[in-house]
Structures are given as C-alpha cells and as structure tokens.
C-alpha cells in the first residue's frame, strides 16, 4: 500500500492523524528551523518524544521537518534540531539545505534523511546528486512536475519518492521563492513563513472587503463575499496593456485554489511513487483526522485497484476550488 504521510502541527493533531490511519506523521520544532513557523504551532523536544512513543505504539512513524535554510552564523540552532530529532527517535529528518544535509550525514550517519520539497530537486540529476553525496533515502518532489515526469524520474533514480496530494499548493518551485520577502521581509527559506499573518490586514473600504499583505492590496471582494487569505502567488493583480494585448486583471499566477490529486492516486502509484503527502501542519486536528481518514480509504482502494472514492473531501474544499495542479500538463 502507498504510504500516507500526514501533517501534525500539534501533539493533538499527531494523535488524531495516527488514530485516523496515518502510516507516517511529520512535524517540526517550534522555531525557525521548519517551514511552518507559525505562532502556537509545532513541538517542544518533550512533545516530540511523546509523539514518537504514541505513534510507535500504534505502528506509525514520525518524521521531523527541519527544512528552512540555516542562517549564516546561526547554524547551531539547526544542528541541534537534527540532533534532538535523532535523539527523540524520529524515523527520519526532512532537510532542504545542502550544508545542513552534509552536517547531518556526517554527524548522524545512522539517521535516515529525506530531501524536503524545499530543496526543489526537480530532475533525476539533482536527486541522484543528493542521493550519492549524502545517502538521501527519499525525495519529496516539487509540485511543478507532471505525472509523466514523475514516472520518468522514478526510472532514473534508486531512492523513494513522495508527492503532495492534498492541501496548500505552491505554484512556484518550492524553496526558490522570495515573493514573500519582497513584500514583507520574511521568507519561507529564511524564516519558515510565507505571506505571514503578522503582515496581513483586512479592511472594509467603500463597500469592499480588502486583504493586504505588507500594506499591498492583494484581494478585493464585494462586501458579503469572503475575501481570501492574501498569499502572494494566489493574489489578484493587474498587468497593464502592452502593444500586443489588453490589460489583464485577475489571478495572474494562480487562483486561490488548493491541491486535490485524489483522482490521480492510481496513476501516481503506477508512476512508482512510494508515499503520498498531505499538506497542512497549520490545520486543526479535526481537519487532519477527516483528511487522513479519507486518504487512508483512497490508498486502500488504490491497493485493490478499486476506483477512487469520489467527493470524499468536498466539504473540506467547500468555498475553495481544488486543482490537480502541475500533475496535469494543461496546468502549465
């Protein structure tokens, strides 16, 4: 059966995910070492050890994401995170920075290493480079690839692949995007945040709801209609007219959609993918439980060659469109 890798932003979410049928849960420490560095989220060292024990007792594994890029002059914080994850009994650590991976491979030779999506290893050369240099055992593939490309990649590499199937969708190559720091000074790579809530402001102006990021208007909807969170790449912008075309106003990069690749699970299985990943460490434990249950049913159906259960997650994507993203080539 394909392995289901599920998010946990809190110990309660970890327990909920395990109880709902997650094979594996991933989480991070409560600091800038992980890419979901949000207030009130993530694990202390003690909570991680308890989470690992809870998961192990129920046959599940825990991965620790240490997937931001260590700050120059401040690497010790990241090195300590790797050591503590190892100590706590994590099944593997999920890393993105070559320097940190080199450190982990040398200082913790028996620790299993996964390559984070933030490393943006988008072709077999990059993946094989990490595998050969550091003994990486699994790569989380960027969300810029089609199913055909994933199939081709799996033919040329020897390590496991993990792909995102549900939740937030990065439309830029992950780990290679500075849009957030352009507008706010804070970035996923350096600070573990993208379009951070600390820089968001909602306001009602002249009968419209406006959402701003860093003072810049990102969404405007008529009063009464919900205004989406102002994530930059899903914002509404205007490209003024040029001599070849009229002005365009709209979601120039991507609509405020989320990823749902449920229907592609059988194809991903055929493509040789080992594990399916659900995004959402910032989500509630109720959400996590519901998504995990649905996807556990889906991977079990895929294992039996049964059709994918339809509409499983309609409720969770309600009010927000879902897309299969780059997995379908037409997205490009």
């Amino acid at each position: 059966m394909m392995e289901l890798v599920c998010p946990a932003g809190t110990p309660a979410a970890l327990r909920a995910a395990v109880d709902a049928g997650a094979h594996t849960v991933y989480c991070g420490f409560a600091d800038e070492t992980n890419a979901r560095n949000f207030p009130g989220l993530n694990f202390s060292r003690e909570e991680l050890a308890e989470g690992v024990a809870y998961a192990r007792a129920r046959g599940a594994r825990v991965l620790v994401a240490i997937n931001t890029f260590p700050r120059a002059g401040g690497q010790a914080l990241w090195h300590r995170a790797v050591a503590d994850a190892h100590q706590a009994g994590a099944h593997a650590v999920i890393l993105a920075d070559p320097g940190l991976i080199a450190h982990a491979a040398e200082a913790h030779p028996d620790l299993r290493l996964h390559l984070s999506v933030q490393a943006a290893a988008a072709n077999p050369d990059a993946i094989n480079l990490y595998a050969e240099a550091f003994g990486i055992r699994r790569v989380v593939l960027p969300r810029v690839l089609t199913v055909e490309e994933i199939t081709a990649i799996n033919r040329e590499i020897d390590i496991e692949t993990e792909v995102f199937v549900f939740g937030g969708l990065c439309v830029m190559a992950e780990g290679r995007c500075s849009l957030s720091s352009w507008a706010t000074g804070l970035s996923p790579n350096m600070n573990g945040v993208c379009s951070p809530a600390s820089h968001v402001a909602y306001e009602e102006v002249a009968g419209n709801n406006e959402a701003r990021l860093g003072g810049y208007l990102i969404h405007r909807t008529p009063k009464g209609a919900p205004v989406p969170y102002p994530t930059l790449c899903k914002g509404c912008f205007t490209a003024p007219a040029t001599r070849t075309g009229p002005a365009q106003t709209g979601h120039i990069f991507e609509d405020p959609v989320s990823l749902d690749a449920t229907e592609l699970i059988p194809k991903l299985q055929k493509a040789g993918v080992t594990a399916l990943k659900i995004e959402g460490r910032q989500r509630s434990r109720a959400y996590v439980a519901q998504v995990v249950r649905a996807f556990r049913a889906a991977v079990e159906a895929a294992e039996q060659g049964a059709p994918m259960p339809a509409g499983l997650l309609a409720k969770l994507t309600e009010g927000q469109a879902a897309t299969t993203g780059a997995y379908a080539k037409t997205w490009r």
């Binding site: 920075d97 320097g99 000074g185």
Partner: protein, 295 residues
C-alpha cells in the same frame, strides 16, 4: 571590488543580443556570464550568437562564464547542461542539479538562484570545486558578512546582486503565456514582446512585480548603490549587474564609478537619468521588504 554582468534574463532577438555583447565588451565590467537562464525554448533563437559574443568579450579581456538554466526539468535541458561543461569555459550553475554533470575535479561558479544561505552550504560547494558564488538576492547584510568571511577562508569569491530586477521565483508554469490565455507549450514566444518583462501592479495601481516567462522578478530595480561601503567592508569582491534594455552600458559605468568611490546620491541620480521612469529598491540587504524604495 569589480563588476560582473549576469546572464540576460529576457527573451531578446539574436541581433539585440549580439549588439548588447559588442557594447558590453567596451564597458569596465570585469566578467560576463552568458547563456539561457530562464527558458530553454528561447535558446534556439539566439544561441548562434553565443560563440561570437564570447569571442568579442574574450578579445576585450573579459572573463566569460556560461550559465545553466535556473530550473532544469526536461531531458533536453539536462543534456544541454551536460554539454555546457564540455565547452571549455567556466560554468555558472543556476540549478544545483547541474552539479551532477560536473567533470571530476573541475572548478565551477554558483549563480544567485542557487540557495547559498550559510557557511555549511558554502563550504560544501567549495569542497566540490566552487570558486565564485553570487549570493541569493534576499540575503541581509548580516548574512553576507558571514558568508564573505567564510568565502575568503575557503577560497571562494563572493559576489552579490548589485543591480537589476531581482529573480524572485521560478515555476513550471509560464505566467507570460498565461497572461495571453496560452499554456507554456503553446506560448508563441509572447515573452519576446516585452524586452524588460511584463509589468504587474497591485489592484490599486502600485508597481509590484515583473513577469518574465516562467520567472517572476521584482518590478523595482534592486540596487546596492547606497550600500557599497558596507559590502566592501564585508569583503564582497564583485557586484552582479543584471542586463536590461536601454542604456545598460551607461548603467555599468555608474557602478564602476561607485566602486571607485562616487557617493551614492550622485550615483542614484545618474542611474535615474539613464533609466527614465525606473524605480529603485534596496530593502533586501537591509533586512527589510525587498521592494523598499532606495535613496
């Protein structure tokens, strides 16, 4: 401190490219990085100009390096990357995966779209043979200082993003084509219509971003004109200047004067004169939002 002219980010005609490098050969820049950086579909339209441009630049005493693509996915792109390493010139990697093709023991350079955020990564690259690294544009000065020291210790020359629209993101999707309701595979090379990229504003009319095919850049031109002294003090040895349409040789001259001690206000005034209507930003190096206005 010297000057490095980065690869052309935009889709220019073969003739424009060849004129551009003829002109760059006469500037005070020390080195030039040349090659398709953004979209492999563009390359067949101008690659025939590359050998001549290299010849002109070398004859003018410039150092020349070849750039890889910033996002390598297709088989054809991987093959092209491998071929670059056999061309007899230093290669600047713009995607870490390119290192897989590095011939044993060969030296290489690292471009600003490779994530070098700390000493650990710098030292790993140095061990692999890196001799020069242009740091990612979003790094604050505090990081640049640490990395320049680490670079000096490891024998790696450290360069920073000195001037031009900063590369902020790269995608599998072409946003330029999308603006014309086309997909990447049927783009009809529409990015060629916008020699400095296509402007993107916020809904209330603020200049914000620039779409350049699969690449997204800042709208304001990042400049370190006001931060030269700090960069020299930190041990940064070169400024990367990113090509754009218009009087780019004039822009190179301004930075040359800056490295020779011209005060920032005068330099910014000269830049404004050479780039009418342009806005300048200097936030990244200050640890502020990157688009923060300069001067």
């Amino acid at each position: 401190m010297d000057l490095t002219i980065g690869p052309i980010a935009f889709f220019w005609t073969a003739e424009t490219v060849s004129d551009f490098y003829r002109r760059m050969a006469t500037t005070p820049a020390r080195r030039v990085v040349i090659g398709e950086w953004v979209c492999s579909k563009r390359l067949p339209f101008w690659q025939q100009e590359i050998p001549g441009a290299i010849e002109t630049l070398l004859a003018a005493g410039k150092e020349v390096a070849l750039s890889t693509l910033a996002l390598i996915t297709l088989k054809r792109e991987r093959r092209q990357t491998e071929e670059l390493f056999g061309a007899g010139l230093p290669v600047e990697i713009a995607d870490l995966g390119a290192l897989k093709h590095l011939p044993e023991g060969a030296a290489f350079q690292v471009g600003p779209t490779v994530n070098v955020y700390n000493e650990g990564t710098l030292e790993w690259l140095a061990r692999k043979g890196a001799t020069r690294i242009c740091l990612p544009p979003e790094l604050p000065l505090a990081s640049v200082e640490v990395l320049a020291r680490a670079g000096a210790a490891a024998g790696v020359a450290i360069e920073v993003w000195g001037h031009g629209r900063a590369p902020l993101a790269i995608s599998g999707r072409c946003y330029h084509a999308r603006l014309h309701d086309r997909a990447k595979d049927s783009c009809l090379f529409v990015c060629g219509e916008d020699p400095d990229g296509r402007e993107v504003q916020t809904l209330d009319g603020h200049d914000f971003l620039t779409v350049n095919g699969v690449q997204t850049m800042g709208h304001a031109h990042t400049t370190v004109a006001g931060q030269i002294a700090e960069l020299v003090q930190a041990g940064v040895v070169s400024l990367r200047l990113s090509p754009q349409a218009g009087d780019f040789a004039g822009v190179v001259d301004v930075y040359h004067h800056l490295t020779e001690g011209m005060p920032a206000p005068g330099a910014l005034a000269q830049l404004r004169a050479r780039m009418p209507g342009a806005r300048f930003a200097d936030g990244f190096l200050a640890g502020a939002p990157g688009l923060r206005g300069a001067g």
